[in-house]
Protein backbone atom coordinates (compact mmCIF):
# COMPACT_ATOMS: atom_id res chain seq x y z
CA UNK A 1 0.00 0.00 0.00
CA UNK A 2 1.34 3.33 -1.02
CA UNK A 3 0.65 4.96 2.32
CA UNK A 4 2.68 2.30 4.13
CA UNK A 5 5.61 2.96 1.86
CA UNK A 6 5.40 6.57 2.90
CA UNK A 7 5.42 5.86 6.63
CA UNK A 8 9.12 6.48 7.14
CA UNK A 9 8.88 9.67 5.07
CA UNK A 10 6.12 10.89 7.35
CA UNK A 11 7.96 9.90 10.52
CA UNK A 12 11.11 11.60 9.41
CA UNK A 13 9.36 14.94 9.12
CA UNK A 14 10.18 17.44 11.83
CA UNK A 15 7.84 18.79 14.51
CA UNK A 16 5.10 21.13 13.42
CA UNK A 17 4.02 18.68 10.73
CA UNK A 18 5.34 18.40 7.22
CA UNK A 19 3.76 19.84 4.10
CA UNK A 20 2.35 16.75 2.48
CA UNK A 21 1.95 16.10 -1.20
CA UNK A 22 -1.42 14.75 -2.30
CA UNK A 23 0.01 11.22 -2.19
CA UNK A 24 0.90 11.59 1.49
CA UNK A 25 4.65 12.04 1.22
CA UNK A 26 6.36 15.06 2.71
CA UNK A 27 7.27 17.50 -0.05
CA UNK A 28 10.47 18.54 1.73
CA UNK A 29 11.77 14.99 1.86
CA UNK A 30 11.02 14.25 -1.79
CA UNK A 31 12.72 17.54 -2.61
CA UNK A 32 15.77 16.72 -0.51
CA UNK A 33 16.15 13.32 -2.15
CA UNK A 34 15.92 14.87 -5.59
CA UNK A 35 18.45 17.54 -4.65
CA UNK A 36 20.85 14.93 -3.34
CA UNK A 37 20.62 13.14 -6.66
CA UNK A 38 18.90 10.04 -5.21
CA UNK A 39 17.14 8.23 -8.04
CA UNK A 40 13.34 8.12 -7.64
CA UNK A 41 12.10 5.01 -5.90
CA UNK A 42 9.24 2.89 -7.19
CA UNK A 43 6.53 5.12 -5.74
CA UNK A 44 8.12 8.33 -6.95
CA UNK A 45 8.46 7.01 -10.50
CA UNK A 46 4.71 6.41 -10.75
CA UNK A 47 3.32 9.18 -8.56
CA UNK A 48 2.61 12.39 -10.48
CA UNK A 49 2.91 14.50 -7.30
CA UNK A 50 6.33 13.20 -6.43
CA UNK A 51 7.48 13.49 -10.04
CA UNK A 52 6.41 17.12 -10.02
CA UNK A 53 8.30 17.78 -6.79
CA UNK A 54 11.37 16.10 -8.26
CA UNK A 55 11.14 18.24 -11.35
CA UNK A 56 10.73 21.41 -9.27
CA UNK A 57 13.90 20.68 -7.34
CA UNK A 58 15.79 20.00 -10.56
CA UNK A 59 14.56 23.21 -12.15
CA UNK A 60 15.58 25.38 -9.21
CA UNK A 61 18.96 23.68 -9.03
CA UNK A 62 19.60 24.36 -12.71
CA UNK A 63 18.49 27.98 -12.34
CA UNK A 64 20.66 28.65 -9.31
CA UNK A 65 23.72 27.05 -10.86
CA UNK A 66 23.27 28.95 -14.08
CA UNK A 67 22.90 32.29 -12.32
CA UNK A 68 25.88 31.58 -10.08
CA UNK A 69 27.99 30.84 -13.13
CA UNK A 70 26.90 33.95 -14.98
CA UNK A 71 29.25 36.90 -15.14
CA UNK A 72 27.46 39.93 -13.86
CA UNK A 73 27.82 42.84 -16.23
CA UNK A 74 26.29 46.21 -15.47
CA UNK A 75 24.32 47.64 -18.38
CA UNK A 76 26.50 49.83 -20.62
CA UNK A 77 24.66 53.00 -19.71
CA UNK A 78 25.69 52.58 -16.07
CA UNK A 79 29.32 52.11 -17.03
CA UNK A 80 29.16 55.20 -19.21
CA UNK A 81 27.59 57.27 -16.48
CA UNK A 82 30.14 56.25 -13.89
CA UNK A 83 33.11 56.64 -16.20
CA UNK A 84 31.99 60.08 -17.34
CA UNK A 85 31.70 61.09 -13.71
CA UNK A 86 35.09 59.63 -12.82
CA UNK A 87 36.77 61.34 -15.74
CA UNK A 88 35.23 64.71 -15.04
CA UNK A 89 35.50 64.58 -11.27
CA UNK A 90 37.36 67.74 -10.36
CA UNK A 91 39.56 68.04 -7.36
CA UNK A 92 39.99 71.57 -5.96
CA UNK A 93 43.30 72.17 -7.71
CA UNK A 94 41.88 71.13 -11.06
CA UNK A 95 39.75 74.22 -11.46
CA UNK A 96 40.35 77.76 -12.60
CA UNK A 97 38.54 80.53 -10.80
CA UNK A 98 36.22 82.73 -12.80
CA UNK A 99 35.75 86.28 -11.62
CA UNK A 100 32.27 87.20 -10.49
CA UNK A 101 30.85 89.97 -8.34
CA UNK A 102 28.95 87.31 -6.33
CA UNK A 103 32.00 85.25 -5.44
CA UNK A 104 34.25 83.30 -7.79
CA UNK A 105 32.89 80.51 -9.94
CA UNK A 106 34.91 77.59 -11.18
CA UNK A 107 35.94 76.19 -14.55
CA UNK A 108 37.38 72.72 -14.94
CA UNK A 109 41.01 73.02 -15.94
CA UNK A 110 40.87 70.05 -18.36
CA UNK A 111 37.85 71.61 -20.07
CA UNK A 112 39.62 74.97 -20.35
CA UNK A 113 42.72 73.33 -21.82
CA UNK A 114 40.54 71.43 -24.28
CA UNK A 115 38.99 74.71 -25.44
CA UNK A 116 42.40 76.27 -26.11
CA UNK A 117 43.60 73.14 -27.89
CA UNK A 118 40.37 73.14 -29.88
CA UNK A 119 40.73 76.69 -31.18
CA UNK A 120 44.39 76.16 -32.09
CA UNK A 121 43.44 72.93 -33.90
CA UNK A 122 41.15 74.96 -36.11
CA UNK A 123 43.97 77.20 -37.26
CA UNK A 124 45.31 76.49 -40.74
CA UNK A 125 48.40 74.29 -40.73
CA UNK A 126 48.56 73.85 -36.95
CA UNK A 127 47.64 71.15 -34.47
CA UNK A 128 47.73 71.55 -30.74
CA UNK A 129 49.43 68.80 -28.81
CA UNK A 130 49.37 69.71 -25.14
CA UNK A 131 48.16 72.69 -23.17
CA UNK A 132 48.78 73.64 -19.58
CA UNK A 133 47.03 76.48 -17.82
CA UNK A 134 48.29 77.84 -14.53
CA UNK A 135 46.31 80.50 -12.78
CA UNK A 136 48.22 83.22 -10.99
CA UNK A 137 47.55 82.71 -7.26
CA UNK A 138 45.02 85.10 -5.74
CA UNK A 139 44.24 86.54 -9.18
CA UNK A 140 42.14 85.52 -12.13
CA UNK A 141 44.85 85.80 -14.79
CA UNK A 142 46.43 82.68 -16.18
CA UNK A 143 49.67 81.64 -17.83
CA UNK A 144 49.33 79.25 -20.73
CA UNK A 145 51.92 76.84 -22.07
CA UNK A 146 50.93 75.16 -25.31
CA UNK A 147 52.81 72.85 -27.63
CA UNK A 148 51.88 72.63 -31.30
CA UNK A 149 52.86 70.81 -34.43
CA UNK A 150 52.92 72.63 -37.76
CA UNK A 151 52.32 71.44 -41.29
CA UNK A 152 55.48 71.31 -43.37
CA UNK A 153 55.97 74.63 -45.09
CA UNK A 154 54.10 76.75 -42.56
CA UNK A 155 56.15 79.78 -41.67
CA UNK A 156 57.39 78.85 -38.23
CA UNK A 157 58.50 82.38 -37.46
CA UNK A 158 54.92 83.59 -37.57
CA UNK A 159 53.43 80.55 -35.81
CA UNK A 160 54.34 81.93 -32.41
CA UNK A 161 52.61 85.23 -33.05
CA UNK A 162 49.51 83.60 -34.53
CA UNK A 163 49.10 81.12 -31.69
CA UNK A 164 49.72 83.74 -29.05
CA UNK A 165 47.04 85.95 -30.56
CA UNK A 166 44.59 83.06 -30.76
CA UNK A 167 45.17 81.98 -27.16
CA UNK A 168 44.84 85.52 -25.83
CA UNK A 169 41.58 86.02 -27.74
CA UNK A 170 40.14 82.62 -26.81
CA UNK A 171 41.07 83.09 -23.17
CA UNK A 172 39.13 86.32 -23.03
CA UNK A 173 36.23 85.49 -25.36
CA UNK A 174 35.63 81.78 -24.81
CA UNK A 175 36.82 81.17 -21.27
CA UNK A 176 36.55 84.55 -19.62
CA UNK A 177 40.02 84.02 -18.17
CA UNK A 178 42.50 86.80 -18.95
CA UNK A 179 45.74 85.31 -20.25
CA UNK A 180 48.85 86.96 -18.88
CA UNK A 181 51.51 85.13 -20.83
CA UNK A 182 51.69 82.41 -23.48
CA UNK A 183 54.57 79.99 -23.95
CA UNK A 184 54.52 78.24 -27.30
CA UNK A 185 56.55 75.20 -28.20
CA UNK A 186 56.59 73.97 -31.78
CA UNK A 187 57.43 70.33 -31.18
CA UNK A 188 57.16 68.84 -34.66
CA UNK A 189 56.24 69.34 -38.28
CA UNK A 190 54.08 67.00 -40.30
CA UNK A 191 53.20 66.34 -43.95
CA UNK A 192 55.50 66.56 -46.98
CA UNK A 193 56.39 69.61 -48.97
Amino acid sequence: MALNDSRDFLDAAGPGGPDLLACGRAAALVWDRAEAGTPPDEHERDCPHCRAAHADAGRLGALVHRMAAEEIEPPPSVVDAVMTAVMSELSPHEVLLLESPHGPNRLGRPAAAAVLRGVVDRMDGLRARSCRIEQVPERFEADVAISVTARFGVDLASVTARVRQMVLAAGEQALGVPVRRVDIDVVDVWGEA
Binding site: A81, S100, N105, L107
Partner: protein, 122 residues
Amino acid sequence: MSEPSGPRGTRLHVGDSAVARIAAQRAALVPGVVGLRADLAQVLLGVAGSVLGRNRSRLPVDGVTAVVHGGSAAVSVTVVTRLGHNCREVAQEVQEQVAAEVAAQTGLTVAVTVTIADVLLD
Protein backbone atom coordinates in the same frame (compact mmCIF):
# COMPACT_ATOMS: atom_id res chain seq x y z
CA MET B 1 15.94 72.57 7.24
CA SER B 2 15.30 76.23 7.71
CA GLU B 3 12.92 78.18 9.80
CA PRO B 4 12.46 81.65 8.47
CA SER B 5 10.05 83.47 10.75
CA GLY B 6 6.65 83.50 9.12
CA PRO B 7 3.57 85.56 9.90
CA ARG B 8 1.85 84.82 13.21
CA GLY B 9 4.16 82.07 14.32
CA THR B 10 3.93 79.82 11.29
CA ARG B 11 7.19 78.18 10.49
CA LEU B 12 8.36 77.43 6.98
CA HIS B 13 10.71 74.52 6.54
CA VAL B 14 12.52 74.33 3.25
CA GLY B 15 14.60 71.21 2.76
CA ASP B 16 17.87 70.75 0.94
CA SER B 17 16.22 68.74 -1.81
CA ALA B 18 13.61 71.40 -2.48
CA VAL B 19 16.27 74.08 -2.85
CA ALA B 20 18.35 71.79 -5.07
CA ARG B 21 15.42 71.06 -7.35
CA ILE B 22 14.52 74.71 -7.74
CA ALA B 23 18.15 75.52 -8.50
CA ALA B 24 18.50 72.72 -11.04
CA GLN B 25 15.37 73.72 -12.87
CA ARG B 26 16.44 77.36 -13.15
CA ALA B 27 20.05 76.60 -14.07
CA ALA B 28 19.01 74.40 -16.99
CA LEU B 29 17.12 77.33 -18.51
CA VAL B 30 20.08 79.71 -18.65
CA PRO B 31 21.31 80.31 -22.23
CA GLY B 32 24.61 78.55 -22.83
CA VAL B 33 23.89 75.78 -20.36
CA VAL B 34 23.80 72.48 -22.24
CA GLY B 35 23.06 70.42 -19.17
CA LEU B 36 23.82 69.74 -15.55
CA ARG B 37 26.57 67.33 -14.63
CA ALA B 38 26.25 65.00 -11.69
CA ASP B 39 29.41 64.49 -9.70
CA LEU B 40 30.81 61.06 -8.99
CA ALA B 41 29.04 60.69 -5.67
CA GLN B 42 25.69 61.50 -7.25
CA VAL B 43 26.19 59.06 -10.11
CA LEU B 44 27.14 56.29 -7.70
CA LEU B 45 24.18 57.06 -5.48
CA GLY B 46 21.98 56.93 -8.56
CA VAL B 47 23.38 53.54 -9.52
CA ALA B 48 22.96 52.27 -5.98
CA GLY B 49 19.45 53.64 -5.89
CA SER B 50 18.45 51.91 -9.10
CA VAL B 51 19.94 48.62 -7.90
CA LEU B 52 18.40 48.82 -4.46
CA GLY B 53 15.09 50.06 -5.77
CA ARG B 54 15.20 53.20 -3.71
CA ASN B 55 12.75 55.93 -4.40
CA ARG B 56 14.47 58.17 -6.95
CA SER B 57 12.97 61.28 -5.41
CA ARG B 58 15.00 60.80 -2.26
CA LEU B 59 18.25 60.93 -4.16
CA PRO B 60 20.14 64.15 -4.72
CA VAL B 61 19.44 66.24 -7.79
CA ASP B 62 22.06 65.63 -10.46
CA GLY B 63 24.52 68.49 -10.71
CA VAL B 64 23.24 70.42 -7.71
CA THR B 65 24.01 70.22 -4.03
CA ALA B 66 22.23 72.45 -1.59
CA VAL B 67 22.66 72.86 2.13
CA VAL B 68 20.15 74.90 4.06
CA HIS B 69 21.27 76.22 7.40
CA GLY B 70 19.05 78.55 9.31
CA GLY B 71 17.80 81.26 6.99
CA SER B 72 20.47 80.82 4.37
CA ALA B 73 21.35 78.25 1.76
CA ALA B 74 24.60 77.33 0.08
CA VAL B 75 24.02 76.00 -3.41
CA SER B 76 26.58 74.45 -5.73
CA VAL B 77 25.65 73.97 -9.39
CA THR B 78 27.74 72.03 -11.91
CA VAL B 79 26.96 72.66 -15.56
CA VAL B 80 28.21 71.86 -19.04
CA THR B 81 28.36 74.56 -21.70
CA ARG B 82 29.35 74.74 -25.36
CA LEU B 83 32.15 76.52 -27.16
CA GLY B 84 30.93 79.89 -28.30
CA HIS B 85 29.59 80.93 -24.93
CA ASN B 86 31.88 82.82 -22.59
CA CYS B 87 32.42 80.55 -19.59
CA ARG B 88 32.76 83.39 -17.11
CA GLU B 89 29.54 85.00 -18.33
CA VAL B 90 27.59 81.74 -18.37
CA ALA B 91 28.75 80.98 -14.84
CA GLN B 92 27.81 84.42 -13.57
CA GLU B 93 24.42 84.28 -15.27
CA VAL B 94 23.65 80.88 -13.70
CA GLN B 95 24.83 82.22 -10.35
CA GLU B 96 22.54 85.23 -10.51
CA GLN B 97 19.46 83.48 -11.87
CA VAL B 98 19.64 80.55 -9.48
CA ALA B 99 20.18 82.82 -6.49
CA ALA B 100 17.23 85.01 -7.49
CA GLU B 101 14.94 82.05 -8.15
CA VAL B 102 15.72 80.23 -4.90
CA ALA B 103 15.38 83.43 -2.91
CA ALA B 104 12.05 84.23 -4.54
CA GLN B 105 10.60 80.78 -3.93
CA THR B 106 11.93 80.07 -0.45
CA GLY B 107 12.76 83.37 1.19
CA LEU B 108 16.24 82.11 1.98
CA THR B 109 19.43 84.05 1.58
CA VAL B 110 21.33 82.16 -1.08
CA ALA B 111 24.99 81.86 -1.97
CA VAL B 112 25.56 80.09 -5.29
CA THR B 113 28.79 78.69 -6.64
CA VAL B 114 28.86 77.54 -10.25
CA THR B 115 31.31 75.03 -11.68
CA ILE B 116 31.65 74.56 -15.41
CA ALA B 117 32.76 70.96 -15.64
CA ASP B 118 32.98 70.68 -19.39
CA VAL B 119 32.84 72.70 -22.58
CA LEU B 120 31.51 70.90 -25.66
CA LEU B 121 33.64 71.69 -28.68
CA ASP B 122 31.35 70.48 -31.49
